[in-house]
Amino acid sequence: MRNTLVLFRREFASYFATPLALVFIVIFLAFAGLFTFFLGGFYERGQADLQPFFNYHPWLYLFLMPALSMRLWAEERKSGTIELLMTLPITPWQAVIGKYLAAWAVAGLALVLTFPTWITVNYLGDPDNGAILAAYIGSFLVAGGLLAIGACFSAATRNQVIAFIVTVVACFLFLLSGFSLVLNAFQGWAPQPVIDAVASLSFLTHFAAIAKGVIDIRDLLYFATVIAVWLAATAIVLDLKKAD
């Protein structure tokens, strides 16, 4: 626990030691605003809620989260510091979780900094703040899921660009697995339970459920499982490919 915290702090600080975290946060805030007010028609809808704001989060995350996660392990490999890190008296799990949480915290910070949108909607009307809080939690969980996928691909390569591209593709499939684009590939040959299983993997369906304001234990369990599985995969990949 103590070591996880130490690694978390180092990683979190290193995001801010380079312009990465700052660029990430500025771009996230700019696009979140752009999508909400222009594409989402925040004013035109005439409703006091943040649905147009949250609707675009998964799509924004699709490109921004891989940018955040790509350096997690690929950079350690490239610079050789992975050898330094893994010969310190820490367990691989502490390293995997500490570094992952740092990336997630940067995403969480960006999300918290969207609070002016929340103030705006409260100023303009009388929204259901419970539902907004739920949607924030849902959005944070989607970010966490995508970052866990990204951590795993970052661990598999020393090239950050490759980590980024592969992560975007994997995240795209995970986001869309509830949609016909992905499901059609299974229709016709896979049995119905398999199709249902694939459909239930979609980040979007679970996010939509939470964003409605209903925090169902099954949705939370879903995100917890996704994160745990991908982090376990990260630890396994690191163990298998330590040398190169």
Partner: protein
Amino acid sequence: MIEISHLSKRYGPLTAVDDLSFTVQAGEVLGFLGPNGAGKSTTMKMITGFLAPTSGSVRVCGHDVESAPLAAKSCMGYLPEGAPLYAEMSVRAFLEFIADVRGLEGERRRARLDDVVARLGLQSVLEQVIETLSKGYKRRVGLAQALLHDPQVLILDEPTDGLDPNQKHEVRELISAMSKDKIIVISTHILEEVEAVCSRAIIIAQGRILADDTPKALARRAPSGKLEDAFRQITLHGGAKLKEAVNA
């Protein structure tokens, strides 16, 4: 004490380390010599628990590196090849981070930090970002990191590589000064270094031990009495003999 028994590492058909066995006692400074690709770094990576051996075992301070990695790693300090460091951190932040991970606290933490900073002359660059340091300073930060918790066992992979003659001299002095009650294993290409600091030298090639003796005794194996000639004689001749043995 480091006990290595029947240690091997294979990458597919390639055998990097082939059935290595030796022990190192406290007070010894072991020089690990060999041509490039002989398996020096791979052996060090297995001793420090970074790579898992294909077969065989390593025990450091009585702890098996594979089954009790944390205990073994706690009593070791390691300078990996090329001295990799977190480039974006300041020297101070980096050393504080290592102190955190090593669990140093309170008075002892301050004393240890002061000690390594003084020993390696890092006072003037403490606030500097590691990226901006010269190669010599980077190497010193790498050494400071390895020494910080005053470990019983020091594994240094080419500690003087890329340093100028004065810095090399300083690092050798440092190693000699610490050698009394510690186990120090260094790998190097520089034979004068072995003569200057090591109490024992192991020459390996193609993953096998070709010679294990004091540097003086090794040097006497060459007609000229020079360690350099002995090294060439052993590695070239021994390598050829090994090849014959494998082919036969």
